[in-house]
């Protein structure tokens, strides 16, 4: 199969899920006030300096921990 066909298939699949997401948004009617407040808080908060925050390491640790739980406790594997 040609590369262009593969990319087209991936994009079509993404489009299908985007359609599902739009349908989900239409039927759920999530309230928006909560987020508006959160967005305001984020806007007011100062942008932190990258070097001060090891959040990426914390996130990575969380992923690895969850993966280890999945692999060795739930025994997930191919």
């Amino acid at each position: 199969m040609k590369l262009a066909t593969r990319i087209a298939m991936i994009l079509l699949a993404a489009l299908f899920f985007i359609g599902l997401t739009t349908a989900f948004e239409r039927i759920t009617h999530l309230p928006s006030d909560h987020f508006r407040q959160t967005r305001e808080l984020r806007r007011r908060a100062p942008e932190p300096r990258l070097a001060r925050y090891p959040q990426v390491l914390i996130q990575l640790g969380a992923y690895v921990m969850l993966a280890l739980i999945g692999r060795y406790i739930l025994r997930l594997r191919l």
Binding site: F24, L30, S32, Y53
Partner: protein, 145 residues
């Protein structure tokens, strides 16, 4: 060692680190968060193209008597793709810096973006757990060079 193998492993590590950074908006700031999210879309297409033989074989086997384990893994990966598409799409619609022209006035998209990204964390961790043995073997192979 084949360059394709190194490319796959490097790309997977970049994807994982990018997801870690994207899950914490105050770390990157909103502008970098949005641009990194858009770049992630291209990286995911590349990741899928590099895994195409698995995708094609699993799709064929899914409808022709695949094992329970293969089917569960296939559905998990498909869900991960669906969640990723939903997160990126809702992210574009709630963009403030990168593509504000495409942003929607409907603020519910931003809330959906948060909800889908919560689900994404669980799916990425499961994806990582299922492929943990491959990741360990690949890392050992690189370190043993």
């Amino acid at each position: 060692m084949r360059p394709r193998f190194i490319l796959v492993l490097t790309l997977d590590l970049i994807l994982l680190l990018s997801l870690c950074a994207l899950e914490h908006v105050p770390f990157t700031g909103m502008t970098l968060h949005e641009w990194l999210g858009l770049a992630l879309a291209a990286l995911i297409v590349l990741h899928l193209l590099l895994s195409w033989s698995w995708i094609a074989a699993s799709t064929r086997r899914f409808f022709a008597g695949a094992s329970h384990r293969t089917r569960v893994n296939y559905i998990l990966n498909l869900s991960l793709f669906g969640f990723m598409a939903a997160v990126i799409f809702s992210g574009v619609l709630s963009s403030q810096q990168a593509v504000p022209a495409l942003a929607s006035a409907n603020t519910r998209w931003a809330r959906l973006h948060d909800r889908f990204s919560d689900g994404l964390v669980a799916l990425v961790a499961t994806h990582l757990a299922i492929n943990w043995d491959w990741l360990l073997a690949a890392t050992r192979k690189i370190l043993a060079r």
